[in-house]
């Protein structure tokens, strides 16, 4: 889909929220499993937004989860200082790093039909069995990206987080691919960084074509 402007997104929110402080904030919830870089994804997204001059807040769901356990991380983006510390209960966007969570965890909790959903999968929403749930959603805000495959190709390991951020940049238009690349390079270095940047770029392309 075509990248939405930031202003457009902000307008969408204005109608939904009552208080003036809330109107600008954009909230993203990321679901995945321990070891998939869920927390890193939220952090890198916050760095990407920071690189564009935004205020951003990223935080994990604070578990003591081990590898493989369901993990949640959050990211808020705003034009002004973010003071609120509550977990994100009504996300504007959802990134699902592992589709096996769809039927295990209530990943869609608090989601409104105006939200964006990005899923790491080679399958479609129908094939994943969530077509009914997303029926009222805006189709251009639903997207899948084969992030594991892209990561395997470019990084050598199925680490989907960077690729998904590339996909998210394309889907939401909230951050540019350049900012995402910059954020990836601030977290990783050398070949690992470049592999992840390549995976993000590929995912960006994939999401745009989607």
């Amino acid at each position: 889909m075509a990248a939405l402007s930031k202003v457009a997104l902000i307008c969408v929110k204005t109608t939904a929220a009552a208080a003036s402080r809330m109107t600008l904030v954009f909230q993203i919830r990321i679901h995945g499993r321990g070891g998939q870089g869920v927390v890193s994804a939220a952090e890198m997204l916050s760095i990407a937004a920071f690189n564009e001059g935004k205020h951003a807040q990223a935080f994990p769901s604070f578990g003591s989860e081990r590898t493989g356990a369901p993990v949640v991380a959050y990211c808020r983006l705003d034009e002004r200082e973010i003071r609120v510390r509550e977990p994100i209960m009504h996300p504007d966007a959802l990134i699902i790093q592992d589709p096996t969570l769809l039927h295990q965890v209530d990943v869609f909790a608090g989601l409104s039909p105006s939200a964006y959903i990005l899923i790491n999968t080679t399958r479609s929403f129908e094939e994943l069995g969530v077509a009914d749930f997303v029926r009222g959603f805006q189709p251009e805000r639903l997207c899948t990206v084969p992030a594991n495959e892209l990561a395997l190709k470019h990084v050598g390991r199925p680490v989907p987080s960077a690729a998904l951020l590339g996909g998210f940049a394309a889907l939401s238009g909230l951050v540019s691919l350049e900012s995402v690349a910059q954020a990836i390079r601030s977290k990783f270095s050398g070949r690992l960084a470049e592999g992840n940047v390549a995976a993000a770029a590929a995912a960006f392309k994939h999401a745009q074509a989607n």
């Binding site: 009552a18 208080a19 402080r21 809330m22 916050s46 604070f62 003071r83 609120v84 510390r85």
Partner: protein
Amino acid sequence: MLKQIEGSRAVAEAVALCRPEVICAYPISPQTHIVEALGEIVSSGRLAPCEFVNVESEFAAMSVAIGASAAGARAYTATASQGLLYMAEALFNASGLGLPIVMTVANRAIGAPINIWNDHTDTMSQRDCGWIQLFAENNQEALDLHVIAFRLAEELSLPVMVCMDGFILTHAYERVDVPDQAQVDAYLPPFNPRQILDPAEPVSIGAMVGPEAFMEVRYLAHAKQSQALSLIPRWAGAFRQAFGREAGGLARSYRTEEAETIVVALGSVLGTLKDTVDELRESGGRIGVLGVSCFRPWPFAAVREALAGAQRVVVVEKGMAVGVGGIVSNNVRTAISTRPIPVYDVVAGLGGRPITKASLAAVLQRAMTDDLELTTFLDLDRALVEKVLRKEREVRRSGPIAEQVLKLKG
């Protein structure tokens, strides 16, 4: 320089800029990222000379800091929760000896039942150990408070705890302005100790003091904390001048002009509270917030003054004295004891229970109409508690409490 970094990293950067000479490291969630980052900074050679000591317990961490500080080195450590309790004996010792150690506490609940998430039970349990306790509202303030803490500690020759909410701040990525070395150096002169272990001028530190002088020694500790009440605003002022932003101080008011209800709180919940109060103000509520930055010494006068116009006070706190109720609220009551206004106590966020704007707004609205019990537990599942209590009445061997609660919770 503006950076988008983790709270723990921001604190580590601040501590490194303060040029500590001895850092004692022992892992405990959610503090660990701080000492990890400092270890990395020391290994890189960026912070030198500095001894990074990997100790075998928090008790040892504080003890190594005591030795280092007594030998004239600027000493730092960080801990949380059980770790703070494990070093409790050494905490009293460090303050009793008057050693200006600075420590970060990444606030976390205390077990049993074991819980790694945030509340203030750990530092509240040590509120009377003689350390100065400063609470950070956000990561910028957490960073800034460390610079202030070293200045304050060394000026007074007293140890300072910088309390920041575990996970909520320590693990949050947000924008912070990291000062440069020259700025920090200008604010924080080299450590010039009041006492030092030096073969050229031998002193005995830590002698036994009997009834004939112990009262006087303890009184001096109290007097020093009182001195801190005037020094803290002074150093906060100097900080504002040097760095161009607010940090520390005793207490800060937010939208308390003509407020009938003032909400008092410490730490990161202040952010959520401010957003909530903004919304309540928009619907006409005359409500404001008082953020207490310095919990020890307790700023009687500043709190009294800030609450002077209020008709009621609500204290939202992440801890409690079991069998009593609120801790901060009791301190607030002593500050305004001459005024017969209700002080509502809202115990919230224990063991990491999210404190949401919705729940806060609901409880504050009730408080604003004086329709609230004196002590409330925010989002408490009362039905569940009743079930457990009923079972205990009915069955002798009712089993471990935590297990029952988890079972009933399903």
